[in-house]
Symmetry: C2
Subunit: 469 residues, 2 copies
């Protein structure tokens, strides 16, 4: 593994650029084999890596083991998807002398090329799945791009250990030197982000941090794509009839989802809109919430304490439950939709940790008002009955606001699949037409190229006559 412990940023990126040519030339099926080897190596080191993650993050062991399983599953799935080639988007137009636009159509064949070295900013809240060997790294490597990871300062030792396993497996499997590297220093990362040989960047984290990096990437003499997954409140819309029909199920599901992982997921449902004087509202007000769970680290705990206090201080917001609850205990806040709409910027902000807001409405049409008013979201959830009259208006609006809509399910636990969409209008994502989870994530790291009039043997393999497609 190359690293700025031993090399300058310039050397590191030069090695990545060199590796890019070799790695792009490796057939995708062979890249998949290499990613399988990386996944196998990480699985084999689980008993060493999980304790490192425990030491640096305060996350429980079962969660970390599950997350590592997800991470290695993802490496294998993305490699296989790249080998299958859906991301190539192959289009073939044979020459057509009668093409009716006023001139004959030439032979045109369109596929994609890898963009080149990708800078990945690791996240804190998934020390495996959105970190050194996480989804961004996996999709860039699967696409044929070298990767430089900016390690998250929340788990540096784990990151170095994962980096060594990944680099060792890559080298053993025959991947080119320089295809993968780590940097630990923020100044090095910023230097890389504006380096001409870095061709795209991916980020998962807070809105202020992501926006600053996005702005830097766009300010380059040659702006590059910056795939930032930033913040989301993930609202839940409960209709009157759903509240009447399934009150306890909705309460249990919501509490389970907003407290899962101590509320430290980007898909945590941060606000639930329910009918005033309904069984859902009553039971939430009386709900016994799970006990305190330690947050990721001191910085996250302090950030949560502050944003919870800020929410609780807004006009019309009441804190449910014991006033002496510890800072890391789950807490529900209560307000009305009217108060929410009057103070949207302050109340509809991500509070990273086990806090959620319940907003009650007097009239179901207020759900539509909220859907119309909110910013871009990763997810929006409906708890509803199939023939509720408000549903078509809600889904119509929410499809414009969110990357994923859920029906009587809960947004935490993002499945890694072909049809997944993890992204949404800003600030959910800085690149809302893309996803950072699922096999379509590969598409972020390729760029289309059309080949006009080429002899068959000079075309990329997937564009030749008779290629398996």
């Amino acid at each position: 593994m190359t690293s700025v412990d031993t090399e300058t940023v310039a050397d590191l990126v030069a090695a990545a650029a060199d590796a890019g040519w070799a790695w792009a030339a490796v057939p995708a099926s062979e890249r998949a084999r290499v990613l399988d080897a990386v996944a196998d190596a990480l699985d084999a080191e689980a008993d060493r890596l999980v304790p490192l993650a425990r030491a640096e993050t305060r996350l429980p062991e079962a969660r970390l083991r599950g997350e590592l399983t997800r991470t290695t599953f993802q490496l294998r799935l993305l490699g296989a998807a790249a080998a299958e080639g859906a991301h190539l988007g192959v289009r073939i137009d044979h020459a057509d002398p009668d093409w009716p636009m006023g001139a004959p159509r030439p032979d045109l064949r369109r596929s994609v090329v890898p963009v080149g070295p990708v800078l990945v900013f690791a996240a804190s809240n998934f020390p495996f799945a959105f970190s050194v060997a996480g989804g961004d790294t996996a999709s860039a490597l699967a696409a044929g791009c070298p990767v430089v990871v900016k390690v998250h300062e929340g788990h540096p030792e784990l990151s170095s250990a994962v980096g060594e396993v990944v680099a060792g497996a890559l080298a053993a499997a025959g991947a080119p030197h320089g295809v993968f590297a780590l940097v630990h220093d923020q100044a090095d990362a910023r230097a890389l982000l504006v380096h001409p040989d870095i061709r795209a960047a991916a980020f998962t984290g807070s809105i202020p941090a992501g926006r600053a990096l996005f702005d830097l990437a766009q300010s380059r003499p040659d702006p590059i794509p910056f795939y930032g997954e930033l913040g989301s409140v993930n609202p839940v819309f409960v209709t009157e009839r759903a509240a009447a029909a399934r009150a306890q199920e909705i309460v249990d599901g919501f509490v389970g989802s907003f407290t899962l992982g101590a509320g430290q997921f980007c898909t945590k449902p941060g606000v639930l809109l329910a009918p005033a004087d309904s069984a859902v509202t009553a039971r939430l007000a009386a709900a016994e919430l799970p006990g305190p769970a330690p947050l990721l680290n001191d910085r996250v705990a302090e950030g949560h304490r502050r944003s919870r206090a800020a929410l609780a201080d807004r006009p019309g917001v009441a804190v449910l439950g014991a006033p002496d609850a510890p800072d890391d205990a789950p807490v529900l806040l209560m307000t009305t939709v009217a108060a929410l709409l009057a103070d949207l910027d302050q109340l509809l902000t991500e509070c990273f940790g086990p806090t959620a807001l319940v907003a009650t409405y007097a009239d179901e049409r207020e759900l539509v008002d909220v859907a119309a008013a909110i910013d871009g979201q990763l997810t929006a959830t409906l708890q509803a009955e199939p023939d509720d009259v408000v549903v078509p208006a809600l889904t119509g609006l929410l499809a414009r606001k969110a990357g994923r809509l859920l029906w009587n399910q809960w947004p935490t636990g993002v499945s890694v699949t072909a049809a997944q969409q993890h992204g949404g209008p800003y600030p959910a994502s800085t690149a809302p037409a893309t996803t950072s989870v699922g096999t379509a994530a590969i598409e972020r790291f390729v760029r289309p190229v059309a080949w006009q009039g080429f002899p068959d043997h000079l075309l990329p393999a997937e564009l030749r006559e008779g290629a398996a497609r």
Copy 2:
């Protein structure tokens, strides 16, 4: 047609936002019928519109008639492509209790939604095909998005006339009020570009103008996609054997291509690299170029005169032919690849008009040096023999630098097809993963949404069980 002659920007964008809901709800097959009606109306008005274009642009009649044919062909093709639905990118994952990532896979179905109102900046050089009813407008409307066009100041009367035909045809075909509007004023366009209800923008034009608008779009509180097609030099790489085998054909093709439309195409081949002391170089030095043709307008003519003079003043650059050639006569400049590489930023810049640079090399490997050194391009052309040893290295490099590669053809005359790719790394495009020509241009104006666990009847039609796909 709504217009800021009668409405404020706020009213206009409010009407567009309202229309967006209705237009998105119109089935794509019906939107195709509406675009057909727009195309028919423009064709029917050709005898009125072409003279207006003649009066404002100095382009010859045959060219303008051909361009209008291309424009209406494009409206019909993009409508039909949207109806066919390739841009929906449908992905369906049925629920899978045994999904091996550690948790069951939910039912997930991914399709796209229109992004909402799109601001289109019209170009000067194609008063029909990249203007009011051009490719950006056609692809946004086909995608289901309302369009506001910033008229190009080079042909305001034509723009108003085309706008009236389009608006009339849209209204007659039943499209919602507000789905299409024009603005003439640059300040209005800038206000629109930062308006919350404008969800994407498209631009074709110069690097400075496009970059300024890109920066403005990215500086919004909520940055939006800005699809800018900026500048390109479109280099041509002639190998030694091609120069020996097909000298006259290459000379004729190059002269024809760089002087086509008086050199005012974004795909004009601006530099040709050929062996020193070859028949190509000798014949180009002696070539009789076509006579002067008027440039688009005075501003373009003056810009061309200045950038030609700047090129001619660089060290190592010689002007071929008569020193007293009129400003709008085609001119070839001659230099060496060594001089080109030493002065790349100044010599490899777009000179909009009938000027091109010929750079001679002593060793074919210099072609690879140039390919490695250049910025992003819309196109790169090889004039080569199929078994030239330099070709694999050249195509490998050029696929990373250009959106379209051509083999023994010429880049002007961009065919509107499914496999077309008109874009490339910056500065060719501000969004290199997209195309502004061809049916894939529709994809710029949609955004993916995943639907998790929805009852069939609440899904978009294309995602339902048993939908035709």
